[in-house]
Symmetry: C2
Subunit: 235 residues, 2 copies
Amino acid sequence: MRKVDVCLSPDLMHLYTIHDRTIVIVDILRATSCITTALAFGIRSITPFALLEDCRSMKSQGYFTSGERDGKKVDGFDLGNSPFEYMDENLRDQKIAFTTTNGTIAIAKSIGAKEIVIGSFLNLSAVANHLRQRNDHILIVCAGWKGRFNLEDTLFAGALIDSLKDVVEQECDAPQAAQHLYNQAKHNLIDFLKDASHVKRLANLNIFEDIKFCLTMDKYDVVPVVKEGVIQSGV
Amino acid sequence: MRKVDVCLSPDLMHLYTIHDRTIVIVDILRATSCITTALAFGIRSITPFALLEDCRSMKSQGYFTSGERDGKKVDGFDLGNSPFEYMDENLRDQKIAFTTTNGTIAIAKSIGAKEIVIGSFLNLSAVANHLRQRNDHILIVCAGWKGRFNLEDTLFAGALIDSLKDVVEQECDAPQAAQHLYNQAKHNLIDFLKDASHVKRLANLNIFEDIKFCLTMDKYDVVPVVKEGVIQSGV
């Protein structure tokens, strides 16, 4: 049977073999929710950069720049980390250079996997269906917060495992914990997460609408895939 | 208010400041359950060693040697990792040199904390009462399994936080997850853990009685404390 595991923090990636896996990167608040939304709205590609200045320099090559540090948009960048910013007709078929606090680190550490997919609640079923059609083992990588465990990414891992439970076998304790937590939270994700640290951090920035949106299930049918360092729609 | 955080794996210890904390080390199956039992039965001291051969060499200095690797007793050592082995009148007032797969690493990485305490379900209330009498912030360090998250240590973290909830504030998402999981599991820990990977690993070694014992609450009133590298009863 195909195996599924969950890496609860990019700082634990050294514990996992990745060459035989499809990796699903998750950074619910808000990087992978933005990526999903952007591709659903017809943006051609998103190129992640670990360093802010590398990302900024892409402006001269015709890219839109998108950057966030500590939950705030970077000065001088075209776009921040709210999914609503990516619902813009002017961005259709454009290329975006992208950098975030946690999401880009998770992507960088996943290079070498058989396939890298971007997951969020917004495209949960699309990702699950995509994974069903493949035969590889699965590793869900939670971007976390500066190396630490976070609840919202873990809940997504639980949701994805739950929707694949007839075809995957849980490999270790992390997927079990994720699924238990998701089963406890699923009837009201917002309420369950109201004390989560990143939700509180973002609530301080007055972006409750973003949070609510990022916790919406199955809004888009797109499956973003990382190929040669560039994220594009795989469906 | 005093803060409590949970480090879900020794491989995440670099993310935490420890000098202003009381650290509680937890390795339910079975290192910290053995340590608790040993001190409750009058063993004078337990000295943890990271390296097996360092531990073995203490035999010539009059120590009993206790060693486990991958859940199995080390050849030539006096004692293994079953708590029942430490309920022995012949061990009263003796010194033990101790090494385990995960527990000793967690202890080694906690050096520098204000105080290091050993926790298990067997002495949960004793540890909680001890922590109540102090004013430091708390970090619960789960020994995990070879760097990975495990359920039983996380459940203990949740139980300890739950019993201190009137005096501590949860600092991040890991304590919340631990408490949620504990609340789901508390009515039947054994049943909740039946699919946990280390429980299955140990069940393969036919030590179900050990597991049941290690999940027993409040059997002993002892609080093992690590001082200058040696574990002794702090109560």
